[in-house]
Structures are given as structure tokens and as C-alpha cells.
Symmetry: C2
Subunit: 357 residues, 2 copies
């Protein structure tokens, strides 16, 4: 009854008496069932001393038993009436941070609770602590990503374009046992690597280019995410090596500091300070990392403004970068798992400078 | 000052004193600026006797003058404080139906208004009446779609798969002057056409298959959407012809009934009755149509439960279908524009049975 355990952990963390969970990913996590009904109402109602119930439009009816009571609804049922019938009245109703006003306003008007709160923190914090099964899937997803990186390198040939390389990535993932991207892959040649949001285009590879891959797959629905920056047919210049080495040190020293009980902002600082002291602080333009799991970006940042402390079971990215159009665009990213007494880096693909011939 | 006109039409329709518009498409419509800041707060505040102001995260700063005051915000600004500063206190605050609880709950807690309502109907109804400029773009988008259909047919060759055909659709649109899909194209062979939600897969074309294209492009950001069902290398059977003809009659008689002041549910009934009387009512499993514009699905349905009356300037789809795995899967869809005294069908591609050789 893993699902019930997850629900109980959420209820323990929340001050709400009843929680209405409407985010399809949170429902996937709690019901182990992928349901994306678009605009139609989907809600999982959980509470202390009540049986959970899943409200689902009959258009998405399924036979499988999920160990949670299903209540099929139609397009004429409204969230406020469903909740009124199911709850009557309660003290504090927690709703998802994403619940749209078109559902929330009528629910409030129906007077279902004394008080309404954002119930998502309890869900988010629970999802941020991966259990053994999730950890195993995340580990495997990143192992596939490591193996895939070895093959992606071989797609780098004279005159190839970024789009042509990117178009072959899915096949490699599928061959290795993944079933999807966790996000559209980034392939960036030369100066394009100095734009952290670059999307693959018709840029043709040239000798001496950097080649950046920021890629991730899904294995049994769990995401991986890794970045490596290679060089094509030419030793990097001394200046480029210095930039690369700063990014690598920022990555490795931040990873070395990961263990339970560390403030996430302090992990960000370790990497940021190294890059800043190296003179490139202004070229590291984003947070150090993000949490990841069923979604490639989940709640939780490794950034200056995120002061939460790590817990065993957290999985997040460590991805320092320097984006300098004159010298080098470079990012080195791994996923890390906070263990009971330290950190397991989920990506094993080496960090050393590597020249693709 | 088209933008101001649109805002004024919205305010006239609404009982709200101030409206907070947060939907990126609604903001695009009102500011003629495409802004998609993801999770970050984006808000356009409009009200009777107040200058509109656009709240935008500084990460999305742009120089262009849009005739509306821009107020840049940072990640530490919160919606409730911004609104409190901008509004002080008002009577009725309308918010978008999609405004997430994480913004709405703090706004309500800050006591900005006496009452909070779903402000979207005024926006949606205004957007549903296309002006001359929008109508011209929608007409052109559908003309391109008509021309493209002529070319899509030529992609249908022995042994081709649905995915292979679908992969060539974008190029044809780009050549014809469109810049994007309005939705991922549906290509369905044979029995796959009897699943209205089928997505192109590796199904190989066989002689005697039906070939269904449900496709749309964007021209200057405005969407088209059309469906035709062809037959491959073989005359349809008498039974198939009867089904096809029912769908065609449902389409054409519904379109003939379109003029200002008709209830949308009654237009749905015309098509549905024809198909039901023909004995296939249970195989017409969806609404007759949807409104369309900047988005491929906008507010407004042609369905049994939608009792609004048509107005000149409405543009929606008329897309009856019969999904019968034993006999035929078939849909015929056009976009129609409600004119001052009737209806202009935006798609000219013929409805006749057509055999691809």
C-alpha cells in the first residue's frame, strides 16, 4: 500500500483537514495512474479519517483497479457540488497551487470549509523525497542517459547540423530501453552553446566548435537530465580550458558538499563562488539546479533564494555553466541523490575535457 | 487604438470594476504581444477609469512600445502586493478562470476587493467576435489549409506510413506561407480513422483504406482546422457511401443553418439528428464544433450543452463524424464565419467522395 503511505505522509505534513489534489502529476504519483483530462475536472480528495476518492470524467473511464475509489463524473457535474456532497463541511481545505479560479471560486462560494489554503507544499515536499522504488528508476534512467551520451558523440560528423543530430537522439534512447524524452534535447554548436536556452537549429558544425548536449530520457516514466560540453577536432585554447575547468570545479565541489541537512542555497553558493572568483560570475546566469522525478522540473531549486535543507531521497541537478560568447559556452550537469550520509552522483559520464575527432 | 477598443468591449461586458487578465493568449489578444513566462506571474490589469498596466517579469523585458504601460517585476514580487499597490481596494475584482490558486488565495487574503468573480466570460465573449483584421487572417489561414490539402493527398503512396505522411506536412505549410501547425496533424488510415483521437503511427497504407486528414496551420498566428476523409485506390462500398453521405449532409445542413442569432446547441442538433436518423447516432461521439482563433480551441462550443446564440464575427468548426470500426471512420470539417446575414464557409476544399489513385 505504497500509495496510502504517500497519502499519509502528505496529510501528516499538512495543516489541512482535507486536500483536493488536481495536478495530474501529483495524482499520477499518488494513484500510479497517468490521467491527463485536459480542461476537464480531475480531483483526488484525501483527508484524515476519510477514504480517498478520485473524481474522473467518464470520458476517461478505465477498468483497472487502483486501490482507490473512483467516482465518475460528467460534463454537467461541477467541482463545487461534488465537493459539497463528498465533504459537507470541513475546517481547512487545502487545494493545489495550480487549481484554476474557475474551480476554486465556486468551491469557496459553496462554503465547504472555514478556511482555504494552498495545499501544495505538503505534496511537493513529499514528492521531493524519493522512495526506494523511485530511486531505482531514477538511477536506471540516468544510467541510460550515460550510455546514450557515448552514442550521441558519434552523431557528431563533418557538416552535420544541430537539428540533424537532435533528430537521431530518440532512436538511441528507445534502443537503450527508455521510452521518451524528459524534455526536447538541446544540441548546441560553437557560440550557440553560450545561450543556455538555445534550441537545435540549422547551424552547421565547424572544426574547433564546442558541442553541447543537454539531454534526458524517461525510464518507466522517471526522468534523467545531463549536460556535457565537448570540443570538435581541436584542442581548446588555454582560455577555454580555464573556463571549462571553472565549470568542472564548480560542479564537482558543489556535488561534494551534498549531504542531508544542507541548505540548497549554500550548495548554489559553492558553485557560484568558484565561478565568480574565477571572474565569470556574470556569465553564470541561472540557478545551479532543480529537482526532478516524474517531471523534469519538479518543486525545489538549488538557487540563492531557496533556503530549504536537503533530505535523504532528494534528487536534483547540479548544472553550473559559463555563457561567454567571446570565449566559451559550457555547462556540466549531473543528477545527484542525497543519501543517508552523503550523495550519490547518478551520472557517471566523465567530466574531463574530451575532443571528438 | 484597436487594443483599447478590445479592452473597452471587455469592460462593458463585465460587472467587474477591475479585471486581472493572466491568460497569455488573452494578453496576446489585448496587447498584441506574445508573452509566455511559464510559471512566472504575468498580469494585465484593466479597469473602468484606470490606465491599463502590464505586469511582466524582468526576465522577459522587451523594448518595443505596445501602447500599454509595462511594469517590470522580479521573482520576489508577489501578485498580491503588486495588486494591492496598483488597486488599493475595489468593489469587484474579476480574475481569469485559469488564475492558479497560488496567486488567487493570497490576493483574496490581502483584501483587495469586496468580491471576486470569474472575469473570463467577458474576455471570452469578446474574443469570440472576430474583428475585420482577425477575420482576414483566419480566412487566409483556411485558404492555405485548402491549398495544402491538395498537396497532402499527393503524399499518399503505396507502403507509406501515417507517420511518414505526417512528417511532411509542416514543409508544405511553410512553403505555402504558414508558420506553424495549429495542432499536431492527424493522419489516419483504415480503421484508425474510426478513432477520433488517433495520432499518426507506423500503420502502413493498404488498398481500400480510408485516409483521414485533420489538419491546421497558423497564418500570422491565426489558426485553421479542416478534416477530409479520402479513399485509397478503391471505390467505397455502398454501406460506406451511405455513412459518408450522412456525414456530408450533417456538415452541409448544419452549415446552411449558420447565421446570427441561432443557438449553438440547435446547430449541433441539426447535424446530430441527421446522423441519428441515419442510424449512427451512437457513433457520433463528440460535439459538432469548437470556436477557434489565436488558439485552435477557444471558448465556445457547438454542442448540446452550449445554448449561447451566434453573433456576427464568430468563427467555429462544423465537424460531424461517424466512427464505426466495422464500416467506416469518417469526419468532414470546415471552419465557418458568422456574417451579418448568414455564413461564410472558410474552407473551399470539396466535400465529394474522392478516390486517391
Amino acid at each position: 500500500m505504497l500509495k496510502r503511505e504517500r497519502m499519509n505522509r502528505i496529510l501528516d505534513r499538512s495543516e489541512a483537514d482535507v486536500l483536493l489534489i488536481s495536478d495530474p502529476y501529483a495524482i499520477w504519483y499518488l494513484c500510479e495512474k497517468r490521467l491527463f483530462p485536459g480542461e476537464r475536472f480531475l480531483g483526488l480528495l484525501i483527508g484524515k479519517d476519510r477514504e480517498p476518492v478520485l473524481f474522473l470524467n467518464e470520458l476517461f473511464r478505465f477498468e483497472e483497479e487502483i486501490g482507490i475509489q473512483k467516482q465518475y463524473i460528467t460534463d454537467t457535474d461541477t467541482a463545487d457540488r461534488l465537493l459539497k456532497d463528498a465533504i459537507g463541511h470541513t475546517g481547512i481545505l487545502g487545494v493545489d497551487k495550480t487549481l484554476p479560479a474557475r474551480f476554486l471560486l465556486p468551491v469557496m462560494e459553496a462554503g465547504i470549509a472555514d478556511r482555504y489554503i494552498n495545499g501544495s507544499p505538503a505534496v511537493d515536499h513529499t514528492r521531493a523525497v524519493k522512495d526506494a522504488e523511485e530511486t531505482a528508476l531514477m538511477r536506471r534512467s540516468s544510467q541510460i542517459n550515460d550510455m546514450a551520451m557515448e552514442r550521441f558523440k558519434k552523431l557528431v560528423r563533418p557538416q552535420v547540423t544541430e537539428k540533424e543530430v537532435a533528430a537521431q537522439i530518440m532512436d538511441i534512447y528507445l534502443e537503450l530501453g527508455a521510452h521518451d524524452f524528459s524534455f526536447p534535447p538541446i544540441v548546441a554548436f560553437g557560440v550557440n552553446a553560450a545561450d543556455p536556452h538555445h534550441m537545435p537549429d540549422d547551424t552547421v558544425l565547424k572544426e574547433g566548435d564546442t558541442v553541447l548536449f543537454d539531454v534526458g530520457c524517461k525510464y518507466s516514466n522517471y526522468c534523467s537530465d545531463m549536460t556535457r560540453t565537448f570540443f570538435y577536432k581541436k584542442e581548446p585554447s588555454a582560455e577555454q580550458k580555464r573556463v571549462y575547468d571553472l565549470v568542472r570545479r564548480a560542479n564537482e565541489e558543489a556535488e561534494a558538499a551534498v549531504r542531508p541537512g544542507v541548505r540548497l542555497c549554500d550548495i548554489d553558493s559553492i558553485a557560484r563562488d568558484i565561478i565568480t572568483e574565477g571572474g565569470f560570475g556574470k556569465d553564470f546566469t541561472h540557478r545551479l539546479g532543480h529537482f526532478i522525478g516524474l517531471e523534469d522540473h519538479e518543486y525545489g531549486d538549488v538557487s540563492q533564494s531557496f533556503e530549504d535543507r536537503t533530505e535523504a531521497g532528494n534528487i536534483f541537478s547540479i548544472e553550473p555553466g559559463i555563457y561567454n560568447k567571446e570565449i566559451l559556452g559550457c555547462r556540466i550537469e549531473d543528477l545527484v541523490l542525497v543519501t543517508e550520509d552523503g550523495c550519490e552522483v547518478l551520472n557517471q559520464y566523465p567530466h574531463e575535457i574530451e575532443i571528438i575527432e
